[in-house]
Point group: C2
Chain length 218, copies 2
DNA sequence: GTCTATAAAGAGATAGAC
DNA sequence: GTCTATCTCTTTATAGAC
């Protein structure tokens, strides 16, 4: 990690400009929908620059994916530890799981809506093979949260708990990737919630889901 | 819709074999990850056959997407109507929304796990532009279910309801696309539920989510 | 570190023989 | 309806001049 380079007004080092352009284009079109030339044109740099600075397109992608996913998984573990130390319940555990996506927004150079799409792409794209760090991160997060949730909700069997956590991921992933399109789809009826509102809606929904009993009706 | 051609043992008309191979490959690798030559090689037909039978790769994709999405949306509307006629509640409405994915499994030539991945690809791939029929289908389904849910749950504001329905979609979409990978990821701990079990888990979870109150904790 | 030029492979599409 | 052969464009990657 060299230099803490900050991008101002679109003029950074070549390397930074490549990263910036890639983030923007991938957020819009996905990892598979963007070519090296799309990237270098958008960045205003030479085609050869990507291979010089990153080795290959694949490595550039890995770096960007890691840059967004690994800090999220790290923060998830940190927050969970804090919540457990304070004796938090389901809601606090869930928030520890979700909020790290929000922390990254402010820390990232990418604009809010773009960030959500980008991190959604990073989470969802199963066609890219993950780096070891990323895979281990997801595994550790899964284990830790399942353990924590099972401790507070011993009445839910462990296999069932895995599925419920999987559902929670679905809620948050869907919102990251497609949340920005909902307003258009609903012709404005879904409104324009700020991110804290969205987060608490997600947490409310998932919290109830985790606490649900079989066949509960109304 | 010509011929009701059924595929037996992998030997159908050229057109059928193209469709069959495309479904299989796209389920595995997504629409963007498959080339015309991948398809024609897997189908054992000539490269030119796709353009002869479908006009272009794009049109082949549109046909396949429609073949899986449109019947689901149609069945969603039919089932909703039936549920409303019988005075069903949240749970029944939700089931009307989710079960059509299951109905399609048996009706489809594709094997169960492949089908789920494929329909997940169809639902999630936002880079392909939808046909008018498909877009209208989603819009009508959205409107109808929001109306039905708002009638049974008048205490939930309409904007909030849109988000909750969006969360429900996230749960089911995530399960379609990645449910098959969960067992591996959890080293077997998530078990091997049959599809009825999975459906009722999804419905339980989403039902509770729809009924949730703000800031509910445990 | 950045450029041009080009290699080498793969993409979608089609003309024309059969 | 199916084939071969080919066109044209785009892809990633790199060699070598500056």
């Amino acid at each position: 990690m060299s230099g803490e380079a900050t991008l101002e007004g679109g003029r950074g080092s070549t390397k930074d400009r490549i990263v910036e352009a890639t983030e923007r284009l991938v957020a819009e079109s996905g990892f598979e929908g963007v070519s090296l030339r799309d990237i270098t044109n958008a960045a205003g740099v030479n085609v050869a620059a990507v291979n010089y600075h990153f080795g290959s397109k694949e490595k550039l992608y890995e770096e960007i994916q890691g840059r967004y996913i690994n800090p999220v998984n790290r923060e998830r573990l940190e927050r969970l530890e804090a919540v457990l130390a304070e004796g938090g319940g389901v809601r606090e555990i869930l928030e520890a799981f979700m909020r790290p996506f929000l922390s990254m927004v402010t820390r990232s150079r990418v604009k809010e809506k773009l960030y959500f799409k980008l991190v959604g792409r990073c989470v969802m794209d199963q066609n890219m093979d993950m780096s070891d760090e990323m895979r281990e991160g997801f595994e550790r997060v899964g284990e830790a949260y399942i353990q924590a949730l099972s401790d507070v909700l011993p009445e839910v069997a462990r296999d069932e708990m895995w599925w419920r956590l999987h559902f929670c991921s679905g809620v948050v992933d869907q919102t990251l990737l497609y949340g920005g399109m909902l307003k258009e789809f609903t012709r404005g009826e879904s409104g324009d919630p700020d991110i804290e509102t969205s987060l608490s809606r997600i947490v409310d929904f998932c919290c109830a889901g985790l606490l649900s009993k079989k066949g509960e009706t109304r």
